[in-house]
């Protein structure tokens, strides 16, 4: 249905928090299904109304079929990710035996801290992604990415998680660090640095945490190799030709540096950057911007000022991105898409833009 934009098998929607990634991912999913492709949209924490629109119920981690009517030949499924449940699920699936599983799930470090490990949501997103990718039940997957401090954190998540497990599994927690009463033993194997690190941990973190972590990593040991392999596989998937990144930016010049940084970083790290989309642009107002009037409370004048600001930002970004890079924009809509019909209107607008390359 679109000629300008070549749809990949895996489309990853990235961008800073609050730019409308989730809504756009849903609209892209709709567009894809209408083009006759069986599509899965994987999302995080969407707004309640959007949840209703997509029919993703309260239950996270379960795929739900979105009702699109008979006219649509493709199928659209949507799923909402729950990091903690995915983590528990992985432990459950990959633990060698029930005793090992219970040791991990009952560990104090795991219970208190594992759910808030850096990038755990991102990491679980990629774990889940790999799972559905391999299951191969959909011809296309559209992945909405979780809000991160820096949007690229998502890409580093597998590696960070593995490094963290590695730092624990290999070095911090090996049995020889602990004697039977649970006290820390000299980390001779690591040499002088090891002793210093040990004393740092002892001093700053305290032995109790270290012991809990030690138990956690020991219990986690048998699972670790699998995590490492999957992290590598998902990294390969993300740089492969099957995957295209769809970069969403906020409007206005203030957002240009972030967007540019993002675009460059994606390409530097070997990922395929597809369309860049500036979302929620204040539309041309049909009157001149009058700042004084805007300050005095004239909303139309204010919107005209914002429209000019956003247009400047868009041109600035276009210049900096260069002519080869497809750059699109979508207007701020009078109402946020909240049910399948208004989502469909957004999808139409998006289709027009993508077609117009």
């Amino acid at each position: 249905m679109t000629t300008g934009f070549e749809w990949p098998r895996l489309l990853v929607v990235v961008g800073a928090g609050g730019v409308g990634k989730t809504t756009l991912a849903a609209a892209l999913g709709l567009l894809s299904a209408r083009g006759g492709t069986d599509t899965l949209v994987m999302t995080f924490d969407p707004s309640h109304r959007l949840k209703d629109a997509l029919g993703v119920g309260a239950e996270a981690g379960v795929e739900t079929r979105v009702e699109l009517g008979d006219a649509v030949t493709g199928r659209l499924d949507a799923s909402l990710l729950d990091a903690r449940r995915t983590f528990d699920g992985l432990v459950d699936r990959y633990a060698p035996d029930p005793a090992a599983r219970d040791r991990i799930l009952g560990n104090r470090f795991y219970r208190h801290l594992a759910g808030s490990l850096a990038g755990i949501l991102e990491y679980m997103a990629v774990e889940r992604l790999l799972e559905v990718w391999r299951a191969g039940e959909h011809e296309r997957i559209i992945l909405d990415t979780p809000p991160t401090r820096q949007a690229l954190d998502f890409l580093g998540a597998p590696r960070r998680m593995v490094s963290f497990l590695e730092s624990g599994a290999i070095k911090v927690s090996t049995r020889r660090w602990f004697v039977d009463d649970g006290r820390l033993r000299g980390a001779r194997a690591l040499g002088p640095l090891g002793r210093r690190f040990e004393s740092f941990l002892d001093d700053v973190v305290g032995l109790e945490l270290l012991r809990d972590m030690g138990e956690f990593f020991q219990a986690f040991g048998p699972l670790y190799e699998g995590f490492r392999q999957r992290a590598r596989q998902v990294e390969q998937l993300l740089v492969s030709r099957d995957t295209v990144f769809f970069l969403v930016s906020g409007a206005g010049e203030e957002n240009v540096p972030d967007t540019l940084f993002f675009a460059r970083k994606l390409e530097e790290t070997g990922h395929h950057l597809g369309p860049v989309l500036v979302n929620r642009l204040h539309p041309r107002a049909g009157l001149a911007a009058d700042r004084e009037a805007a300050v005095r409370g004239d909303g139309a004048a204010l919107l005209a000022w914002l429209a000019e600001r956003d247009a400047r930002g868009l041109e600035h970004l276009r210049t900096l991105l260069g002519p080869e890079r497809p750059l699109y924009d979508l207007p701020l809509l009078p109402e946020a898409p909240s049910e399948i019909q208004s989502l469909a209107r957004l999808a139409e607008l998006l289709a027009e833009r993508l077609r117009g390359v």
């Binding site: 707004s47 309640h48 490990l117 973190v205 009157l287 004048a301 701020l332």
Partner: protein, 317 residues
Amino acid sequence: MPAVVKQRISRRPRPLATGLGEKGVLTQLAGRRLLVVTGKGGVGKSAVAATLGTLLARAGRRALVLEVDPRENVHQMLDVPPSGGDIVEAAERLFLQNLQPRQVVDQLVRDRVRIELIARRILASPLYHNFVEGAPVLEEAAILGHCLLLAEGRSRGAPPLDVVVLDAPATGHGVSLLSAPSLVSAAIAAGPLAELTGEVAELIGDTERSAVVVVTQAEEMPVTEALELRTELAARLDRSPELLVVNQLLPGGPPRPRAGESAAAKLWRRRRRLQDHEVGRLAAAWPGRRWELPLLPFDRGPELIEALAAAAAGQDA
């Protein structure tokens, strides 16, 4: 064990001598040590934090706005060069610091491991790197720990302060930041970090010393998230936010529809109706104090903060 943790210079702020009204929420906030400004990404948290810092400084408090973000924003709004990690004086009694979350944890290591060479070796080791990268709850606890040390005059080289305004990182839910100290102290039974996080957890739980300011926009997702934050705060920390700031509202009173009106007039009316709906949703579920701040025709900068400060002072009167 270092003795520093035990030193407490003063736990209560000085009595107020300001021109603030008696009933305003600003007066209430001016008596706290720590204001945590939180909300979903993109709602204008930094502008609100800068505005609060400005208002408190003008009311006679020595205030520091702490930004923990890889990208510095607040300096633009206060019209000073980027802080690059240092404490910068932006105006009389108003200070600014930008820290990378990682720097905060590193600083904690330096404070604890007194021998510089050893501290440097630790900071440079991949083991440490992976450990800290992997456990953000440590970062979050360290950010609040840094606020505590600043606010109580226990941070080396910092000026004396009355209040720290934390522009909370946009990652995840604000409640994960606020519950990080109690998580860490629940996971760590003993040691200096446990003591510090225990103190911070106490500060966060003490409604006479700390305050939570929630920033939102009158749009569905930010409003939903603000309401969730309120519920979670009550459930997990047994406290409610002191102030809700609804940011970037279009002016009220758009004209009635008429033939030949501009597209902007039409959009103004429709967007404002949507905003009114969301403000109504907040008003129904949020019993506490609320400021409504306007969307303004200014880029990030001192003009914006001046206008917001004027609007906020008007709301507070």
